[in-house]
């Protein structure tokens, strides 16, 4: 339980730090929102289903943008504060500390995603009439957790680098496109599909759309539950790799002495 406590404490701490710094609203809420709205406007079509498709994708982009950005800075901010020594020398393994922060970041991503959804529904006057509310919520929450797992995987790499900002900027759009948030994956070249399907949120977005869009009703059971299964397996895989990576990061940081540099 002490490890879980470190995760809960880190979640709460990240929330306190977030709320204490209003400027975080810009990269975490405003910028992803503006981006999602631009994409929504680009994809507006007469068909209400197409708009709903884009609205859900926009929400997902907001969630991912936030998770990626915040994961990149989860340790970088400690470098700035000079607290990285205290965090690293704590008896709680780093992954449990970063885990709490990543879950908070994903939670902010949900708020952002819902914000985009509601704003888009108002702007495009498209009511979100989900086909199955509870399955929609299940897919939504699991997709959030899969995003957190993916964020954790990336944050392990960010711990060792001082160039987290460059990496987060570089990874933002490939994931938007690769997960099918911006437009359906089948529009992408065939060779990109394995990459798309290796990303858990790709399956999550598909599951959300299955639950939300009546047009997906054909073959629902296999499609929806298949998506949930693949997403869960991939998310567990990310967590497993993250645990291994964080052990490697711990060893490497202590060997190369580069953790505290900023």
């Amino acid at each position: 339980m002490p490890r879980l406590r470190a995760t809960v404490a880190s979640f709460r701490h990240q929330a306190a730090m977030f709320l204490a710094e209003p400027q975080w609203l810009i990269p975490n809420i405003i910028a992803p929102f503006v981006l999602a709205m631009v994409v929504l406007m680009l994809y507006r079509e007469p068909s209400p289903e197409a708009v709903l498709y884009a609205v859900l994708g926009g929400g997902m982009m907001g969630m991912w943008g936030n998770t990626l950005y915040a994961s990149g800075f989860s340790i970088q901010s400690d470098r700035w504060w000079g607290t990285v020594d205290a965090i690293f020398s704590a008896p709680s393994p780093l992954i449990w500390i970063i885990g709490g922060r990543t879950i908070w970041n994903a939670f902010v991503g949900i708020v952002n995603g819902l914000f985009v959804l509601v704003a888009a529904m108002i702007i495009f006057q498209t009511p979100l009439e989900v086909a199955d509310f509870w399955l929609f919520m299940l897919a939504f929450v699991l997709t959030l957790l899969s995003l957190a797992a993916l964020g954790m995987l990336f944050s392990a790499a960010f711990v060792l680098t001082r160039s987290a900002q460059v990496l987060t900027n570089g990874l933002e759009f490939p994931i938007y496109v690769g997960t099918g948030s911006m437009f359906p994956i089948f529009l992408l070249p065939y060779w990109t599909h394995p990459l798309s399907y290796s990303l858990a949120p790709t399956w999550g977005i598909d599951a959300i759309r299955y639950a939300a869009l009546p047009a997906y009703a054909d073959g629902f059971a296999a499609g929806y539950w298949g998506d949930i299964l693949y997403m869960s397996i991939l998310a567990l895989f990310y967590v497993t790799i993250s645990i291994w990576l964080y052990k490697a990061v711990d060893h490497r940081a202590r060997k190369t002495a580069n953790l505290m540099r900023y």
Binding site: A9, W81, P91
Partner: protein
């Protein structure tokens, strides 16, 4: 207050090297030996000082001892646990207090800072809030507990650093430059808190640049220079290294670097240290025989405006300067 002979820090043959590269196409690798085969032990209840100039290897040594860095070779045991193989066991039982402005979350309150560190350092939930109150009271910050750290003075931040380092009641505390940048009153408060911790039976390893601080606080001192421990003794023992030395202290105006070189070249002068401010210069000239050297020093500085010249007994600082001199 040394409690028996239980060794809580056991360092044997510690070596720590850093590797760096320069250039892009024609990369050159550079190896720096920061700590070069050092040995020392610290007993329970002892306040052990580690002194040395910048870049001598003090901070690297502390980082290895606190599990933040891996040793390149050698063995380090903290409270009987190996810092490489049992780092988590070590981390549970040690505290780290850093000096300087950074190391706290400024945007949140002192209480929020301490609650976070209490949680990740494993303070039991049942006593956490009480422990935070106790620690805040101890460092005299209870009335400012719910103020954001960014509104604290430098001295208050240092007191919060101490609170953070002891929140989980560690047996062994590492203090790195505890009083750096503090005004005299705040520095005195920090030293008093250090003494209280030792009186309670804590073991402390302290690094400092201030000799009077080391002299006042430490039971034993290890002097580290160029990655090696060049002396390890009590403050009194270290001072006895320069017992046959006297110090001619000179204060004046217009004294130049060339004058320092001329002084160093005088037969019988051991070391010369100087504070060469633009408006006033002060020098400490270590000599064996002040009676014969005083006229020579006076003659050498006769064209300068000397406002004071005294012969003094050597201090711990003189012993330290003698030990870390470049030609040692």
């Amino acid at each position: 207050m040394v409690d028996g002979d239980e060794v809580v820090i056991d360092v044997k043959g510690l070596v720590r090297k850093y590797h760096s590269t320069t250039g892009i196409l024609h990369q050159k690798k550079k190896e720096t030996v920061a700590v070069n085969n050092i040995d020392f032990q610290v007993r329970r209840g002892e306040l052990f000082g580690l002194l040395g100039p910048n870049g001598a290897g003090k901070t690297t040594t502390i980082k290895v001892l606190t599990t933040l860095l891996l040793p390149t070779s050698g063995s380090v045991k903290i409270l009987g646990h190996d810092v490489v193989k049992e780092s988590m066991e070590v981390r549970k039982r040690i505290g780290l207090i850093l000096g300087g402005e950074r190391g706290l979350y400024y945007r949140i309150t002192a209480r929020q800072n301490l609650r976070y560190f209490a949680d990740i350092y494993g303070v039991p939930m049942s006593i956490r809030d009480k422990r935070i109150e106790e620690v805040l009271e101890r460092v005299n910050l209870l009335d400012k507990a719910d103020t954001r750290v960014e509104d604290y003075s430098r001295g208050m931040k240092q007191r919060l650093h101490i609170a953070k380092g002891i929140i989980h009641d560690p047996e062994l505390i590492f203090m790195d430059e505890l009083t750096i940048g503090l005004d005299p009153e705040a520095a005195r408060d920090a030293r008093d808190m250090t003494k209280e911790l030792v009186a309670e039976g804590k073991t402390i390893l302290l690094t400092t640049h201030y000799m009077y601080e080391a002299d006042e606080l430490c039971d034993r001192i290890g002097v580290i220079a160029r990655g090696k421990i060049v002396a390890l003794d009590t403050p009194k023992g270290l001072k006895s290294l320069v017992k046959d030395t006297s110090v001619i202290e000179v204060e004046g105006f217009g004294i130049t670097e060339k004058d320092l070189d001329s002084l160093k070249a005088l037969d019988g002068v051991r070391t010369v240290t100087a504070n060469m401010n633009e408006d006033k210069q002060t020098m400490r000239v270590q000599v064996g025989d002040p009676v014969s050297l005083l006229p020579k020093v006076t003659h050498l500085l006769e064209d300068r405006k000397v406002i004071g010249m005294k012969v003094k007994e050597p201090t711990l600082e003189d012993a330290y300067l003698w030990l870390v001199r470049e030609d040692a």
